[in-house]
């Protein structure tokens, strides 16, 4: 998709028409179905302008597309599966218990550190430049977040783009810094194989 399409809604709609409402779209004499159109999103060439979508559509429907109540027909209990679906175990070296956290609740590595700080109350984020570390201020022990990826390898957290990390992370381990020396931070081959 070209950059300009990423800023506007599909087929160049104005936002009023895509606004969510409780009632059915098109109150009064306009009906919801008359506002729908064939979606041209997955037809590569049609994304460039709304008029192209019109031309591609084999029926006479106008290009507006509003959110519709109850479509697709998925029951409420099945609708929030996108959230809270990426639970991973979190271990801290030296602690006898494991915790679990939902990676989907974080959107960045910084948020992840914050969540870890919340999960383990004795840890604080250490404000080093470029380094992602947590520290137990009581005894000065430093922890580095590591994770096990899909291939079973243990990696330093933070090397790959966030989304890729969420996809491949199976579990987290806060390793003592002193023991994390063996983990190579960035090897080009590793980066590509974990995509």
């Amino acid at each position: 998709m070209s950059p300009e399409n990423e800023q506007q809604s599909p087929a160049g709609l104005n936002y009023d028409e895509t606004k969510l409402t409780l009632g059915l779209p098109g109150s009064g004499s306009k009906r919801g179905f008359s506002e729908t159109t064939v979606v041209g999103l997955n037809l590569g060439s049609s994304c460039s302008s709304s008029t192209t979508v019109d031309d591609e559509v084999k029926t006479h429907r106008p290009p507006a597309k509003a959110q519709v109540v109850g479509w697709p027909p998925v029951r409420g209990s099945r609708r929030n599966l996108m959230t809270s679906c990426k639970y991973v175990k979190v271990a801290v070296d030296g602690a006898p218990y494991l915790r679990k956290m939902d990676l989907e609740t974080c959107k960045s590595y910084q948020q992840l550190l914050g969540a870890l700080e919340d999960l383990f109350s004795f840890l604080t984020i250490r404000n080093d430049t470029n380094e992602r570390k947590l520290m137990d201020l009581a005894n000065g022990v430093e922890y580095v977040p590591t994770y096990e990826d899909r291939d079973g390898d243990w990696m330093l957290v933070g090397d790959v783009p966030w989304n890729m990390f969420v996809e491949s992370c199976k579990r987290l381990r806060l390793m003592k810094s002193s023991e994390a020396i063996g983990l190579a931070p960035r090897t080009p081959s590793k980066c590509t194989s974990s995509s």
Partner: protein, 622 residues
Amino acid sequence: MGEDPSSSQMSEDDDRSPPLDPISSNKARNCSGSGCPSSSSSSSTDYIIPYPDQVLENVLENVLCFLTARQDRNAASLVCKSWYRAEALTRSELFIGNCYAVSPRRATDRFSRVRAVSIKGKPRFADFNLMPAHWGAHFGPWVSAMAKAYPWLEKVYLKRMSVTDDDLALLAESFPGFKELVLVCCDGFGTSGLAVVASKCRQLRVLDLIESEVIDDDVDWICCFPESQTCLESLMFDCVECHVNFEALERLVIRSPSLKKLRLNRYVSIGQLHHLMVRAPQLTHLGTGSFSSSEGNAQGDQELDCVSAFAACKSIVCLSGFKEIFVDQLPAIYPVCANLTNLNFSYANISAEQLKPVIRNCHKLQTFWVLDSVCDEGLKAVAATCKELRELRVFPVDPREDIEGPVSEIGFQAISEGCRKLQSILYFCQRMTNEAVKAMSRNCPDLVVFRLCIMGRHRPDHVTGESMDEGFGAIVMNCKKLTRLAVSGLLTDQAFSYIGQYGKLVRTLSVAFAGDSDMALQYVLEGCPKLQKLEIRDSPFGDSALRSGLHHYYNMRFLWMSSCLLTRQGCRDIARALPRLVVEVIKSDQQQVETGEYVDILYMYRSLDGQRDDIPKFVDIL
């Protein structure tokens, strides 16, 4: 699977027979009475007209005891007056397909010795928020009538009914022999209601809550079961979104030696699951709850224990749950895979790679529900192993339109090639082709239920850009046993012409954003003699299409049409032409005062007792 309503939790389509025609039942009453010469089908060979009592006795003994299916009983009741009476006295299972088609009073007056009742309420589109809240389908009037009429009632099965805590309390108090309560897609009650049922129904064998909304009243209902040994055989509460007292649950499982079916909710951790499985190795149906650990528990050797716990439960044939799955715990279920006939992964966001090691052992699998996160590749793995598959449901992780979907015609066609015994499919996808649908129509001739949901509205064939008419046409043409059909994608009137021409056994049809003109609906109403349930939304069908069904509406359970082109006058014309039809015009947006040109929702159904007396403000009965 799915033959007994109380066990059809995974398959929602359990309707087998057409409901009793209200016109015909009048004819039965006019039949002249006892000793009908027409009852020559009875065993008597002499020509002396037997006494009424003798006829009744013969009937009761020889015929009616063998009739369990309601359509057979309906037919028997039409023979003559004495058969009608005998049948009414001996019917023990009462099925009410639409709670407003008949009043509780009429039902209990006719059938006096009922032990089991099934009642269905709201139409299915209510599940998708298309029906405004508080529309109706109240259990109250039914339980009140039955409390007086059926002191020996044992089983109640409700689907899409509004049930209050008071209703449950009345139920618990009124039926000393009460054994089974199954609530599917119900709402209006809470844990207080469950508590009363648990404590007062001492003979309770089955308490199944399926896809129901349960209010959290902070009542510890699990604690309310009697302290002595229970008769519990089935306890399903996976839809209950409240914490349960685990210690009480564990004690309950320990003192329920007959427990075979247990479905836990997502507040039960995998460690707790392990404890319960150790207590109940006789389980056949297990809902695993969250299948992940709770926050503060040590894991350590828990994984090993889970594997051995599953290994010890040699009888498990039905597995579900996995509501917050820790995927690396999944190997724990390997020991039971080979015996599984039902597997429900529809809450587990797992990939193809995570599915494969599980599914490759599931040779006996007949019912499989899964999320599309497994991708086409995962479905190919299913097709490669699950040769006995009868029912497949693929749900979307992300139910939005206009996104790249992980499953497509590729996985769909693979399934059709691998799973030749398929009878029922529900498939959500973002793209599909006619070719794949045609392939399935040829590869899976036993299909009874075909529900394809292409999530983008009016989406054409992904490859050819044509409408999906030919694909769905092939389905109705080639799948000669088809009774339930849901269509989607870009469809012209031609698709409906095919349905009318070939869909002679179709009983349930679901249409959304489809068709070009009134002809589409007319094809269906004129062509499908067995049609009973028709639900349509956002399609360009108007008054003249509605009129084309006048000859058939008394044979239907209901018609739902929302966001179509029906005018109030058009609906009124139907109501006038068919006095026994209840024609409800429903406003979908309750704030809206003025009505536009078209009716928001038309919901109409036949009724023996005229309009209901519990109409909310946003409903008009014409």
